[in-house]
Amino acid sequence: MWKGLTTNVLSHDAAIYENSFPVEGGTFDNAGHVSSQIKALLTRMKLSKKVVRRAALVTYEAEINICSYANRGRIHLRVTPEHVTVEAIDEGQGIADIELAMQAGYSTATERIREMGFGAGMGLCNIKNFSDFFRISSEIGKGTHLKMVIRIDKDFDGI
């Protein structure tokens, strides 16, 4: 499910940074540390505050979902002169109905997740709203794969 994809902007420019970070599933013990790390990295790369904040935000929502719903996962970061691409790939239960999961307010969060302040069913919508391109795919019993792209070259126009 691509949102607003108009050109094949996704992989033809050379990476200036690429790394993959493991995320522990099923626990909040370290929830968010990968996002903090990625945010610090992007800040050091002198990307604009807006770009860094949007990249950190979509990474964080994806990371929290892995901590909440998956067994384990990885967050892959790729930075090129034009884009920040974040992929969150997990092994876990997967999402049976992606359209439903994307709806604002839909959540299967447990009491433990709600106690941490999550489970409003806003995360995936938020990811979609804050990224320039967003794709989600999932297989029941296998896992979920999110791909988010944030463009560096232009200011976010609020699509």
């Binding site: 904040r53 964080y60 489970g119």
Partner: protein
């Protein structure tokens, strides 16, 4: 308004960020739900919340929150404080309830970081 003025207005105790009290703030967002904070809070705002777990700090880091005001006298765990120190995010604790905290700041000129969710999207 500076964080020092915020501290005085709220009669708050500074747990983290004694060295950042000169920081300027103009806007705030209040919620106990991090999901809502992520959707609407803007960079440089105060976060007023009754939650005290480490996710409040992580969320604030991601969003460039200027400082966290913990309301209703709730005190964070040592783990939360340690994380806030590491990420340089000030924590102030006030005995006022969320409504009073927001009201006191509003009267002194702090406004919401978004007014209504239908006339301005917070995606910046």
């Amino acid at each position: 308004m500076t964080l020092r003025e915020v501290k005085d207005i709220l009669d708050a105790e500074v747990l983290v960020g004694h060295d950042q009290l000169g920081k300027e703030v103009k806007t705030a967002f209040g919620a106990d739900l991090m999901s809502d904070v992520l959707a609407f809070a803007k960079a440089g705002s105060l976060l007023l919340t009754g939650l005290t777990n480490p996710q409040v700090i992580r969320t604030s880091d991601v969003l460039d929150i200027a400082a966290i005001i913990m309301v209703r006298g709730k005190r964070p765990s040592p783990e939360t404080i340690r994380l806030a120190e590491e990420l340089h995010i000030p924590i102030l604790v006030t005995q006022y309830i969320l409504f009073e905290t927001a009201g006191k700041l509003y009267t002194k000129g702090i406004v919401g970081c978004v007014e209504r969710v239908d006339d301005e999207r917070a995606f910046s």
